[in-house]
């Protein structure tokens, strides 16, 4: 096994171009397990841990640019004000040791449907910054997941950062596991209200071959809020709306039966989480409190 440890980003891109089959390694929380169990024997490992810019967080009023290797612990501790949904998701990742090493970039690279960050990234409308010696692509996160553990990266590309708009409205994340900590998601759900664009976005984890949004549910809820003047009034929304939203979220799932749970349970749990997270999010909504009026989700990056 060849082990490459570039000192800088340009060197890493060159190495990836030269060794397209090289497997990038950051925190190692997925790769090392696969190596230890002999499930994977890549010919080349590309260790990115020496590249300091991958650990950088840049905060501007319009975006948080999260270096690909920023560990979950930092997101929980430093970014809960601007990325509350992602911070809630990060808090459910593995153990403290895993959260100290694992990163959103790694979650995206592995592209497991059970990755905890994905629903929150989908709901927030994140963009993946993919780079190669050929240049940079900004990939909306919903276009990033292409199949079970497959993503939209070209073979010479690496994930440099993830861009997420600071939350302008309430965000929630909810995850069912079969114990109360250190558990891989049976399924997960994330919700973000975007008052600036008067939209709602969702993200569903572990209930389809890839992380998915529930577009019909988002559209339904957005329309209700818009037409009912709820964005302006902040008034309670009729419970039937929550139920319909939850049903549409459940309908967006395409789950399987496996050792962690049945397909029927996953669909049911997504429905319950959608309803509850919506109720919590709306309870936390304050008209006119949006901190970022031109906030508009992924389209504006």
């Amino acid at each position: 096994m060849e082990f490459l440890r570039p000192a800088g980003w340009e060197e890493a891109l060159a190495a990836k171009a030269e060794h397209p089959d090289a497997v990038p390694l950051a925190g190692g929380t997925d790769i090392m397990v696969e190596l230890n169990f002999g499930r994977r024997r890549p010919r080349t490992l590309l260790d990115l841990s020496a590249i300091s810019e991958l650990h950088a967080v840049e905060r501007t009023p319009s975006a948080v640019r999260l270096g690909a290797a920023v560990p979950y612990t930092r997101i929980v501790e430093d970014l809960a004000d601007v990325l509350p949904g992602l911070a809630m998701a990060s808090r459910t990742v593995g153990s403290p040791q895993i959260r100290n090493r694992g990163s959103v970039g790694g979650n995206l690279g592995s592209a497991s449907p059970a990755g905890d960050a994905h629903p929150a990234l989908l709901a927030a409308g994140a963009t993946v910054e993919a780079e190669s010696v050929r240049g940079t692509r900004h990939i909306p996160v919903e276009e990033f997941y292409t199949g079970v553990k497959r993503n939209a990266l070209a073979e010479d590309e690496l994930i440099r950062a993830v861009r997420v708009r600071p939350a302008a409205g309430p965000q929630q994340f909810s995850k069912v596991g079969t114990r109360n900590a250190m558990t891989i998601a049976v399924c997960a759900f994330a919700l973000a209200l975007h008052p600036g664009s008067r939209t709602v976005r969702s993200g569903i984890g572990s209930a389809a071959p890839t992380p998915v949004r529930a577009p019909e549910a988002e559209e339904f809820l957005g329309r209700v809020l818009d037409e009912g003047g709820y964005w302006e009034s902040g008034e309670p929304v009729p419970p039937l709306v929550a139920e319909e939203f939850a049903s549409l979220c459940a309908a967006a799932c395409d789950p399987i039966d496996d050792v962690r749970g049945s397909a029927a349970y996953r669909r049911h749990a997504v429905r319950v989480m959608a309803q509850r997270t919506w109720e919590w999010a709306w309870a936390g909504y304050r008209p006119g409190a949006a901190r970022n009026d031109d906030e508009g989700g992924a389209a504006c990056v």
């Binding site: 069912v176 900590a181 250190m182």
Partner: protein, 801 residues
Amino acid sequence: MQTQPTRTRPESTPADGQHAGGVGESAARPDGTLKVTGEFAYASDLWHEDMLWAVTLRSPHAHARILAVDVGEALAHPGVQCVLTHDDLPSRTTVYGLEVADTPALAGDRVRYHGEPVALVAADHPETARSAAAKIRVEYEQLPVVHDESTALATDAPLLHPDRTDGHAAHVPHPNVVHRQPVVRGDAAAAAARADVVVTGEYEVGMQDQAFLGPESGLAVPAEDGGVELYVATQWLHADRRQIAPVLGLPEEKVRMVLSGVGGAFGGREDLSMQIHACLLALHTGRPVKMVYNREESFLGHVHRHPAVLHYEHGATADGRLTHLKCRIVLDGGAYTSSSPAVVGNAASLAAGPYEVENVDIEALALFTNNPPCGAMRGFGAVQACFAYEAQMDRLAAELGMDPVELRQRNALRQGGTMPTGQVVDSPAPVAELLGRVRERPLPPERRWDTGAGGAELRELPGGVGNTTHGEDVVRGVGYAVGIKNVGFSEGFDDYSTARVRLELVGGEPVATVHTAAAEVGQGGVTVQGQIARTELGVERVVLQPADTTVGSAGSTSASRQTYVTGGAVRNACTQVREHLLDAARRRYAATEPVWASAALQLHGGKVTTTEGRPLVGIAQLLAELHDEHPEFTVESEWRHRPTQPFDPATGQGFGHVQYSFAAHRAVVEVDTRLGLVKVVELACAQDVGKAVNPQAVLGQIHGGSTQGLGLALMEEILVGPEGTVRNPSFTDYLIPTVLDTPPMPVDVLELADDHAPYGLRGVGEAPTLSSTPAVLAAVRQATGRALRRTPLRPEHLLEV
């Protein structure tokens, strides 16, 4: 978390002049600091100059014929030193087993379970060995899989062991039944007619794993005399040696064993794993050979707790007296015998629980199947029965409109009561009191998660930081359970331990050296042995020699027996050393100092004293004065508990168990009834320990056992597919409780002496594992109103999905 027990007696403190750290005190573990600082050397840390690393090739199929094995390519792999298959076994004996030698050291023409060892590879590096093992070509022809009672007992069922000649073969109803034990007393059919209410139920217990953290590991070193030294993490060195030597073709004395650091056992190290394999490779290559399983291999490489299907029928009169019990317990033993017969004996003899039932018709049996082999795990047959009879008690109480604790108390076993086996319980059996103690405890406050103003502390809620509820649909439930476990080896087994104790002067100080072969598996046996020597010999310094086979057998570190039996052996040897010392002293001093001849003497606080406490001479001075004649005082002797009897094969009658141990739990749970998630809010336990030799270690056992039972209630299960393959051999998908799943566990420790046992003690390790599971299930049933006949629970079981 509450850590201080409520105790029926005050914890003893060192009396005047008594050295600290004796019996009854929470003496510190000698290995404690090393373990918590990560410096303790476990078996996986073993290292030897020039050693090879070895791996095992295992069957991917649960049942197949082996048509051919081609090791050529593996042997040619650079760095490989040796590849062995069944054909390379050196002795006519090629099988081993705890009770019945039926397990091939390496599979011959047939594999019977997923993960059965087929070949071994030793190489310079573990990765090399693993790569080479992948190059071994095994040609399998898959066979039909026996995976449950109906496929095992079909008239045309494939026979797992068609030529079996073991002692149970003659009396089993089908060759795929390992062992069957009825227990019949009174007339259950006639009594059923007198019952005002009858409840019947079928219950199911999933396959739990011991989930010890230190994987199977050891190091075999070839010796100049043609023998081998094996450093290994195990539970019983001498039983290992008895099974290893014949397969190596060596006399037992040429297999010398030393215990290495054991990272937990819980029964999972009673059967052999890598022992024979490492020795074979070491003898073949002439080099030290190390083996360490990875986690996945560990799940395939040791036995599990028997899954069980239990049919129960209880009857009672309107005033809540049990009329009868009929039950049938079917345990899945998997592919080989392991300890299934003894598990069957326990399940049958303890099937009625800690209750007096005059009329019983009990049958327990274990099946041979192509599922993973099952054997010893903490609770050993009593866990499965307890899950069923405690569910039955709650249902009976509901039918009768009685309080479930009161119903249990009304039928509770007491000292002098009779077990279904006819055995009269001749030591305290405070079943009703234990239940009363957990019930009287104040309930934990409601809505502990409520932080006010609509806020919620997620870690106090079902789902935890997964943020699945802020209190919506959360319902509380409370459940009770009590259990009975035997202590020590039963059914006429010659259950003994050996201790060698030496008292001598070292650097002017009296030092006791204790040597036993008892396996320290984390339970604290090393602490207890030191405490006993301090108390019996009145010295402060005790040296514990490493456990090995240069001293006689200590028996197994299992069945809650080591403090009882090896503790008894150490006390017995100490007593003899003390008498030798005092005899020598009397011979020397009695002529000149009459008190030496007349008074009863003891060793206390470093001195010889009269029993009234009058000091005569320091032990150090005495040893110095006797040194020329007696440079040291040494005794090695065996000690055994009073004998037990086998159960009658037809009626199950007999004095089968030497001691019983009892624990009761009250579980308080909160359930998210829409998501099916459970948070155990509190798990209170009351247990009679006879005498808490080390109160802190007792608490550790009760907390650990309760938590392992909670795991069986809510998450721990090995999932086996219909083809007999293990689907979740990892800690990613075999879940054990984390600290956030583990509730406060207040403990009441009773100390009601068993006069037959050393210091009156009662084995403590297993009883808390039994009642914890049914108490949690009972609480969830109360919260949800669901029947819940199976453990572990999954969220799906609590919902209509």
